[in-house]
């Protein structure tokens, strides 16, 4: 990635969009300190490199890919791990942490999953449990890699509603997302990446247009704005002759 420079303000929700392999996850990993970038990432006035793991976990929580697997652990135990960043007790979680986790699971409509083995959940359910774990960290900055992927429409909207509500509490939310319409409806700013570079950055209405879709995704589409969100309609539905020839 090159020449990446942007500022996210407190209480803002930033949606990072771009084609597969454009660098969305890499950017999030840099902010989460999973990858050590050459430049500097300033978090609350200090370089991210200056923080210890413990300090950073109190400010930034994240849900990144490469999920853990291969162990049997109850879902609520995974969410409870989020409270580790402010652990006062050595061995057992505090009652108030357990109550917080209960509230988060209820809020996200996944309380019924709490006693299930994490490994037996569907991808969408695992994703929601890991989002709940990030929320249990109670940090001011939340990084989520494709939080709504694998979810049905109802749950996509529920997750985005929760994230939006968090920004109203003054928390900063940075997500990578493929659903452009959804991103534009909820995010204050959109950052468009392609091949490791920033193509556009700004308010959704200023950023998302037909030229951008052509440049970044290589598609011809009509973009219509309805309220806060765009509707993207592919211009032509071309029948791929190669497919017909190959698979007939």
């Amino acid at each position: 990635m090159n020449d990446i420079e942007f500022v996210v303000k407190k209480g803002e929700m930033l949606g990072i969009i771009g084609p597969n392999g454009s660098g969305k996850t890499t950017l999030l990993k840099c902010i989460a300190r999973s990858i050590d970038p050459e430049g500097a990432i300033i978090v609350l006035g200090r370089s991210s490199k200056e923080y210890t793991n413990e300090e950073y976990a109190k400010i930034v929580s994240s849900m990144l890919p490469n999920w853990p697997n291969g162990f049997s652990m109850k879902s609520y135990e995974v969410v409870l791990m989020g409270c580790r960043n402010r652990a006062c007790s050595l061995w057992w979680e505090r009652d108030e942490d357990i109550k917080l986790v209960e509230e988060i699971l209820n809020l996200m409509g996944i309380y019924h999953l709490s006693n299930r083995d994490f490994d037996t959940l569907s991808s969408g359910e695992q994703r929601k449990i890991l989002i709940a774990k990030s929320l249990a960290q109670k940090t001011d900055i939340i990084l989520l890699d494709e939080p709504v992927a694998y979810l049905d429409l109802k749950h996509k909207i529920e997750v985005m509603d929760i994230l939006k509500a968090l920004t109203q509490l003054g928390k900063t939310v940075i997500i990578s997302i493929h659903e452009i319409e959804l991103a534009c409806s909820y995010c204050d700013k959109i950052l468009v990446l392609n091949r490791g570079k920033i193509i556009a950055y700004g308010r959704p209405r200023d950023v998302i247009n037909e030229d951008l879709l052509r440049e970044v995704y290589g598609i011809e589409a009509i973009v219509k704005w309805e309220g806060d969100g765009p509707i993207i309609i592919p211009k032509t539905k071309k029948l791929k002759n190669e497919v017909v020839m190959c698979l007939k």
């Binding site: 930034v60 791990m81 580790r84 050595l90």
Partner: protein
Amino acid sequence: MLGVIKRRKIRLIVYISFLFILLFTAFLSSLMIGAYPLSPIEVINALISPSNDAGSIIVNNYRVPRALLAIVTGFSLGMAGGVIQSLTRNPLADPYITGMSSGAALGAAIAFIAPLNIFMIPFFAFAGGLSSILLTMFLARKSRAGPIGFILAGIAVGTIFSAVLMFILVIAAERAHGILYWIYGSFSTSNWNKFQVILPIVIPSFIFLLINARDLNILLLGEEHASQLGINAKRLWNLMLLVSSLSVSTCVAFSGIIGFIGLVAPHMVRLIVSSDNRFVLPLAGLTGAFLLLVSDNIVKSPFNPIGEIPVGVITSMMGAPFFIYLLLRRGERYHI
């Protein structure tokens, strides 16, 4: 959920109490069992008022340190097995399979033959055990074959260390006879001296491992996730490996290589109770202690027709079928 967690805490206390009772029973019977069988009254008398008669000397000078050594060694193997399985996220790992025991035995044998002071033996055993586990980890990472790579590397490293050990034993043929017996695991030469050397090393190790049981759960999520939850994952990983190999190596130095306790004990806890390391570590320790003490009781029982055999033979005979059971019954989807 609060209720569920409270019930789990109560269950932990119940299981610990139950295992303590079992262990205490096995301990008392171990004081009675031996070439010179004693009645419960004789044992209690010997414990309460030590005297110079044969029964009292046997109990206080030989059987008590022997039973305590078996308990500490079993606890150490069981707990270290649970730790290593979690650190490597590999259900098949244990101090024996990862080559740690062979390395420790080699180190201890060198110290034995040299011959060095008894207090130097644990350090040599530790150096041997640590170098073998580090070599195993290095090879496993290089192979990029995941859990299978770890097991194969462990077997290879264990075999190399065992071969070097055998070579040394052949060269030092005159001194080797006693050592050979010891290598296959035996408590027959236990005494208070050995116990005094082991205790100051293993007790702090146990405390350290138990304190970090909760963070060990988080390490199961992987280094990246653990770091994001505020843990210095690399340092904790290294420290836990170091401490568990220290406690295992010290025990191996005095009791020889005892297989399968480190594998079987943590799995029994996971199958019956929970995979949470706050349960696995203490309960696997107690289960390991109980299994090893019972095995030692079988070994020294006067009804044993062939006389005293290495305790490692009994633990392997109990452990290997369990290993096969794990492989066949739960191999498809078995997790830490």
